[in-house]
């Protein structure tokens, strides 16, 4: 295991591409995504439906195979790892999905569900196993009676806690959380977010990629944010900087569209016209140009801008350095 102070990233995606051939043409779901997570970081990956954020999360663990680029977990290149080589990686990185109802086997008791990864990955004795499972349930705030219950007997929030307990069973260093609170009520979402925050506080090496469409949740939980649009990351930086001073027009529009939990209506909302374009036939140049309020003919529709670095954040826009309003 590497030194926690070392600078080698826990997750490194380098020019990741996931292209799906379909009847209608090649769908470029993920198209050249580079992202690196330092040990201990919580990074939010946001974007709208179809932006490719979930595909990035799944590909990072090789649940979907990339068609290009490199994936490394804690320095270990897993881009072409075989299923056998991937098995030990599963104890390092785990995934939690949006809908806990469909990610828990309805025919297994909660005890069996949480024990399964331990049975696969460790040679624990039966008595140790029971103790470990009770400890995990306790850790996620569920009473020991739940061991013998089935998923349908639990509420959505409780099921999500079971999914987290299962992920934590192998003591991973990295979690990929794909919209883990989107199916939950706000009062329950708050509990799960608090729990994740605590978990990170007590384990300094724990690293999370938090995939979400909810910017407020990302603001609360994450240190860094990456914004995706049509298979590409268009802006990346520390949450404070990006929320206070978004550089990419898409990030600006996204932030201004969030309905604020306050009496005053949003002012200066930037209205985007139209929908996300098709990833089969993305617009030329910068894929955001047909919806962009800053569009400049001849420039934006010709070339996709390179990264423009401003302070600790960076954005892919010709005007990233321009007016910051």
């Amino acid at each position: 295991m590497s030194d926690p102070r070392s600078s080698s990233p826990m997750l490194a995606l380098d020019n990741l591409c996931v292209h799906f051939p379909t009847k209608g043409g090649l769908v470029r779901a993920v198209d050249g995504v580079s992202l690196s997570l330092k040990p201990g970081e919580i990074v939010g990956l946001v974007g709208e439906s179809g932006s490719g954020k979930s595909t990035v999360g799944k590909t990072a663990l090789r649940l979907v195979d990339p068609t290009g680029g490199k994936i490394a977990i804690d320095g270990l290149d897993i881009t072409d790892a075989s299923a056998k080589e991937l098995k030990p990686v599963r104890t390092r990185a785990q995934m939690i999905f949006q809908d806990p109802h469909s990610s828990l086997n309805p025919r297994m008791t909660i005890g069996k569900i949480v024990a399964e990864p331990l049975i696969i990955h460790s040679k624990m004795k039966r008595s140790d196993l029971d103790k470990a499972v009770s400890g995990l349930l306790d850790r996620v705030g569920l009473p020991a009676q739940f061991l013998h219950r089935y998923p349908h007997e639990l509420s959505g929030g409780q099921k999500q806690r079971v999914a987290i307990a299962r992920a934590l069973s192998v003591d991973p260093d990295m979690l990929i959380l794909d919209e883990p609170t989107s199916a939950l009520d706000v009062s329950v979402q708050a509990q799960i977010l608090e729990f994740l925050k605590e978990l990170h506080a007590e384990r300094p090496r724990m690293t999370s990629l938090f995939i979400s469409h909810n910017l407020a949740v990302v603001r609360f939980l994450c240190q860094r944010i990456a914004v995706m649009y049509l298979g590409k990351i268009v802006e990346e930086g520390p949450v404070d900087a990006v929320f206070a001073n978004p550089r990419h027009p898409y990030t600006k529009a996204l932030l201004s569209a969030v309905p604020l939990p306050q009496a005053e209506r949003n002012v200066d909302r930037i209205q985007l016209s139209g929908d996300l374009p098709s990833p089969v036939n993305p617009p030329s140049g910068c894929a955001f140009h047909p919806r962009c309020p800053r569009f400049e003919a001849g420039r934006c529709d010709n070339t996709f801008p390179d990264w423009v670095k401003i302070g600790a954040s960076r954005a892919r826009c010709h005007f990233a350095r321009g007016d910051t309003k």
Binding site: L254, L260, P261
Partner: protein, 329 residues
């Protein structure tokens, strides 16, 4: 002023093999003409059942309305025959829902469905050609791009936001007096959600339609509504102008909801969840239904039904903490 819709003491239960599930517990609420009311609450609080049952959209059985009355423009509508209810829906009251795909028929073209809806609402008194021009005008009003082309499209060819626009067009062609929007933007992305919320706010204002917007998201409601009613476990616990709900919430549940929602432009160290679960509504608690999860619970909470008190103009709350703060306005 006579309220457009007046629900008085409405109680509804679902009769199941496990007993009677008391989904709505003696709820009273009025909606004035032109008002935009937000009905807010978490899963299972009864916000959808309340509005749907008022217009005969909850099948009986299994549901049973055990008490109360619902009047629309002063006329009792609870006892209406199925035929009378049907005539009223679409003409006086229209609804839009969370998932437009479920409410648009996938095997017919958008245009055909709009024309059929328009002719049904007007009981066949318009020709197909007239209905077509009404439909196209309405699609233009909801800002559907290329209405002529979309008229010939099937629902699956449209994006979620476009489908919701079609559903809104369908709902508003008859110029109803009341629009009920049940989580109309929950399935949409934020940028599309912003477009649809603006559209709804503008249309109800331009057309003078009253609105009930059902949502679990206080932020969404504050974009469109001027008044908010918060529901918990089949009861309305607080009813106030939107500014009061955010700036001066009274009920501990409302406060809890607000504390649980992160704010995108504020740095917050801690979010407060609400511990515990909904009470068992087969045998609901005698007193306050929130008491078991409430930090301010006291003996008085479990004695009997909680009285709704007015603590300032247009601000009602059902909580024993405010019994001494009642004002008469």
């Amino acid at each position: 002023m006579q309220p457009l819709l007046s629900i008085r003491d409405l109680a509804l239960q679902f009769d199941t093999f496990d007993g009677s599930y008391k989904a709505i517990d003696h709820v009273s609420i009025d909606l004035n003409p032109g008002e935009a009311l937000g009905l807010v609450g978490e899963t299972g609080c009864g916000k959808s059942v309340l509005t749907r049952s008022a217009f005969g959209l909850v099948p009986t059985p299994p549901a049973k309305i055990t008490s109360g009355s619902v009047t629309f423009e002063g006329r009792e509508i609870l006892g209406l025959s199925a035929k009378e209810q049907r005539a009223m829906r679409g003409r006086d009251v229209a609804m839009i829902f969370q998932d437009p795909m479920t409410f648009i028929n996938p095997v017919f073209k958008i245009g055909t469905q709009l024309v059929d809806a328009i002719r049904a609402q007007r009981q066949g008194r318009v020709s197909k050609r007239e209905a077509r021009s009404i439909a196209l005008a309405m699609l233009d009003k909801v800002q559907l791009p290329n209405p002529d082309r979309q008229f010939e499209s099937y629902p699956h060819q449209l994006s979620g936001g476009m489908r919701q626009r079609v559903l809104i067009a369908m709902a508003l062609t008859a110029e109803p007096k009341l629009l009920i929007a049940d989580e109309p933007t929950t399935a949409l992305d934020v940028t599309i959600q912003a477009q649809i919320l603006d559209l709804i706010a503008r249309l109800v204002e331009d057309m003078g339609i009253s609105l009930i917007m059902i949502s679990h998201d206080l932020g969404v409601v504050s974009q469109v509504c001027s008044r908010v009613a918060v529901m918990y476990a089949g009861q309305i616990v607080e009813d106030a102008p939107v500014e009061q709900v955010f700036n001066n919430p009274a009920h501990p549940y409302t406060k809890g909801l607000l504390a649980a929602v992160p704010h995108p432009f504020k740095v917050e160290d801690k979010l407060e969840g609400i511990d515990g679960n909904l009470p068992n509504l087969y045998e609901p608690p005698k007193g306050c239904r929130f008491a078991a999860r409430c930090g301010h619970a006291q003996a008085a909470c479990s004695v009997g039904p909680i009285r709704q008190v007015t603590i300032e103009k247009n601000h009602d709350v059902a909580c024993v903490l405010y019994n001494n703060q009642e004002v008469h306005v």
